[in-house]
């Protein structure tokens, strides 16, 4: 058998090579940074609004509470950002879904998609508590690290710069707690 046929059979196809080079391995930070900046510009130009994630989750949460009879649409928090009676009309719903679907497409292209279970009870509790803390924290700060930090700093708002040192402090102590609890 000629070497060429052999290499075609054993080595990756051109398509697999492109995928493994472009998607499978992590991009350098500078490249990801430039892409984030470009897509952020596009987002602001197209939607006329800054990019955010967690306000939308609050809108969906409030929507669910309304459905089960809690009068959540009257909460004072809606003076800080808009309440949506139909949260699917919120553009953040679609940009959030875009993130999830985009990540899914990327992992499917690299053929690394795999469903994973929960390791143990401890992880289950940690994940629930961690998720609750993230959600609660982003609400009392009126923005997560995207709306409150990234979009704020990139639109020259002072609140992003105030957010930053406290986020760093939180990450520092969060790491200490993880080390104590999980290692």
């Amino acid at each position: 058998m000629s070497g060429r046929l052999q290499s075609l059979k054993d080595d990756k196809t051109f398509y697999q090579l492109v995928i493994s080079q472009a998607i499978d391995r992590p991009w350098p930070y500078w490249f990801g940074g430039i892409l984030l900046a470009l897509f952020n510009l596009l987002y602001v130009i197209i939607t006329g609004h800054y990019w955010g994630i967690s306000n939308n989750l609050a809108r969906w949460g409030a929507w669910v509470l309304e459905k089960v009879g809690v009068n959540s649409s009257q909460w004072i928090v809606w003076t800080y950002y808009d309440y949506y009676t139909e949260p699917w009309l919120d553009k953040q719903t679609w940009s959030n879904l875009g993130i999830i679907i985009g990540a899914l497409i990327a992992i499917l292209l690299t053929q690394n998609f795999k469903l994973k279970g929960i390791k143990d009870k401890k992880q289950f509790i940690m994940v629930l508590v961690g998720g609750w803390l993230m959600g609660y924290g982003s609400r009392i700060a009126i923005g997560c690290n995207i709306g409150g930090l990234y979009s704020s700093i990139s639109s020259l708002a002072l609140n992003g710069w105030i957010y930053l040192p406290f986020a760093i402090t939180g990450v520092y102590f969060g790491n200490k707690i993880i080390m104590k609890l999980l290692l």
Binding site: R25, P26, N112, K114, K116, G117, I118, K119, D120, Q123, I178, M179, L182, L183
Partner: protein
């Protein structure tokens, strides 16, 4: 045998666990880390190479890897 079972654990836990465990090892000792998180498969070898340790990565089954680090 030094085996770290990190199956089902997301980043950065596998890396943090190896960092802690490797302190107790002598030069030439091996530690095996079992991971199923693709980013651990990248950042654990990267960290080990930076420290000058020997690293081998083996895909045990689909989406599960065994990383062998030899302390130097």
């Amino acid at each position: 045998m030094n085996i770290l079972d990190c199956i089902g654990e997301p980043c950065p836990l596998p890396l943090m666990k190896v960092e802690k465990r490797i302190k107790d090892l002598n030069r030439g000792d091996k530690i095996y880390i079992e991971v199923d998180h693709t980013c651990a498969m990248t950042n654990v070898p990267e960290w080990a190479r930076k420290r000058g340790y020997d690293v081998e990565v083996e895909e045990v089954s689909f989406g599960e890897w065994k990383i062998t680090v030899t302390k130097r």
